[in-house]
Symmetry: C2
Subunit: 370 residues, 2 copies
Amino acid sequence: MTDAPMTAPASTATAGEVLSRYLTEQAGRFLRALPQAVGEAGARPGAVPSVNAPGGTAGTGELLRTVRRIGGAVHTFGALFEPGWAEEFRAELRWLLTLLAQEPAYARRSARLLAALDTLSATGSAGETGGPGMLAGHQGAPKARALLDRQLTLARTRAHSTVLQELRSARLHALADRMTLLVGEAPLLAAAAGTAGEVLLPQAARAVDALSVAVQALPLRRAATAYQGDALHRLAATGAQVPAQGRAAAPGAPESADNALAADDAPWHRVRVLLKRARYAGEVSGRTDPELDELDLVLDRHQEAADAAVTAATAARTPRITPATAYVLGVVHADQRLEVEAARYAFGSRWPSLSLAPDGWEGPPAPRTA
Amino acid sequence: MTDAPMTAPASTATAGEVLSRYLTEQAGRFLRALPQAVGEAGARPGAVPSVNAPGGTAGTGELLRTVRRIGGAVHTFGALFEPGWAEEFRAELRWLLTLLAQEPAYARRSARLLAALDTLSATGSAGETGGPGMLAGHQGAPKARALLDRQLTLARTRAHSTVLQELRSARLHALADRMTLLVGEAPLLAAAAGTAGEVLLPQAARAVDALSVAVQALPLRRAATAYQGDALHRLAATGAQVPAQGRAAAPGAPESADNALAADDAPWHRVRVLLKRARYAGEVSGRTDPELDELDLVLDRHQEAADAAVTAATAARTPRITPATAYVLGVVHADQRLEVEAARYAFGSRWPSLSLAPDGWEGPPAPRTA
C-alpha cells in the first residue's frame, strides 16, 4: 500500500473528516428524498406507478442511490467504524435496498421485455404471413406480450404494496433516525484521525483489489471474443446462490427461487457488486472514473437481461398457454440471454484498457485468493 | 482493365487453352465421381445414408464440387462460349446442383440442430430442475429433438429417393454425355484465341467487381459491430425470392416456401453465390486466395444457420405439439439466428482486410450498378 497524498480532498484533512463529509452529504440527501418517496408511493396506492423512469420515481431513485453509497462506504472503510454499529447499519441498509429496488426493477424488466416483443412482432407485420422464416407464433407474440405484462404488473403491484407498508414501519423510522444521527456524527474509531491519504487510500485500494481479483476469475478472454454462445448455451444451468442485495424475485416463482440464477451468471453479478463498491470508494476520496461508471452500467444491463431471461422462462411454465405463446417466450428468453452475452462482450472488451491505478494509488494488484 | 501477364499458367497460353485445361480437369473429375455417387446412392436404397460426411458422401461431394466449378467458369467466361450451348449447359448444371445438394444439406442441418439441442439439454442435466433459470421445457428438449429428427429424416429420405431416381434418368445421362464432350473439346469462340492475360483476366476481374458491388450493398459496418441483434430481430421478415441454386426446401413446408427466406438474408445469400464465382474464376487463372476460401465457408455457415432457423420455426407450427416443445424450438430458432449474426460479424470483420487485386489484376473497382 502506498501513502501518497490524496489530491481531491485537501491532503491535510483527516480520514474521519473526509468520510464524515461524504456520509453527511449522502445522509442529507437520503433525508430530503425520504418524504418525497413516501409521498410518491402514497399518491398511487396499490396501483401501477404512472412514472416509468428507469431508476424508479425521483424520490425512490435518490433513496436507492444514497443507500448504495452509504452502504458501500461503511463496508469499504469498515475498519474506521465501531464494528457492531457498522454491521447493524449495513444490515438495515441492505433491507431497505432490497425493499426499494424491486418495484423499479420490475418496471425496467417490463419495459425491456415488452420492447423486445414489439421489435419481434413489428417487423413481422411487414412480412408475408405464411413463410417458414416467420416467427412460428406470429399469433403467439400478442399472447406472450399479454402474459408477461400481466405477470410483471402483478409482481410490481405486490412490490408496491410492500413498499407502501414498510415506508410507514417502525423499522424505517429507526433507519431514518440513524441517518439523522449520521449527519456530522459518524461513530468513528481513533484510527480515523490519520490523514485521508494514509488511512483511506489503502482501504479504497483494497476495494479495487477485490474487484480485480474477482474480474480475473471471469472467463474474460472468452467473453471478449464475440459470439461464443456462452450465455445462451449455459441457460439451463442453475442453482448458484448469489447475494440477494438489490435483486428481485421472478414473478410467479416461489420465494426460494429468488436466488436461483444461472451458475454461470453468479461471478458476473458478484463483480457488479464489487465494482459499485470500488466506484463509491473512489467517490469518498473525490475521485470518479467515467470508465468505471460505464462498466457499472454494462453490468447493470447484464443483470437486468439475466433477470428478464428468467422471467421469460418462468412465464413459459404457466399452465395452459398455447404452443405459439411458448415458442415466442423461447425466442424472447434466447434474445435476453444474447443481451447477457453482449454485456459480457462489452465488459471484456473494455476492462483490459481500464486503468485502476490513478496517481497515488498502488499499481495493478498481484493475483491472490479472494 | 489491365492486360498484365498471368503468372500461374504460362503467359503465352491462349485463353482457350487455359479454360479448356480447367474444364477438362473438372469434367474428368465429374465423370470419375459419377459412378461412385450412383453406387453410393444405390447401396442405401431409400434409407438414411450411413455416411454423415458434411459434404455428403465422397462421390456426391465431388460431383457437387465439380458442378459448381464448371458452372462458375461457364458463367464468368461466358463471352468465350457459344451462347446457346452455355445457357443450356448452365441450366442442366443448376438442376443437378439443386438435386444433389439437398440430401447432404439435410444431413448437415440435422447435425447442426441436434447438436444445438444436445448442448442446451446437456448442461441442464447438471443443474437444479426447479430453478426459473431452467429451460422451461426441460422436458421439451427431448421432444423437440425427436420432432426435428423425425422431420429432417423424412425430408432427407425423400431427397434421397429423388436423387436415386434422377441418377438413372435420361436427363442425367445427357448431362454426362456433355461432360464427356467437354473433355478437351469446349465449344469456344474465336475470342478465346487471345492470350489468357488479355482475355481471361478482365472477365475474372468482372466477377470480382460484381462481388465487391454486392458486398458494398450489405450493412457491413453494422455487421462488423458485435451484438447488434439484427439477425434475431429481423426474424419475422420474409418473402424475398432468392436464387434456388443449391438450396433445399424446409421439411414439412409447402414447395412454394422453398425460396421464402428472411428478406434480410437475401443479399447475404447473393454475396455467397458471387463469392463462389469469384473463387472459381481465380482458380481458372491458377490463383487461389485462402482468405476468400475462408469467407466462402463463413457464408456457407450463414446460409446453413438461416436454413436451420427456418426449420425450427416450421417445426414449431406442427399441430398438437406441447408448449414445452414449442418453447425449446423458439430457443433453438433464436440460437440459429444468433449463428447467422455471428457469421455476418465474421464476414464484416474480415472483408475489409481482404485484397481482391492481386498482381496484374485491376485495382478495387469503382461502385457501379450490378
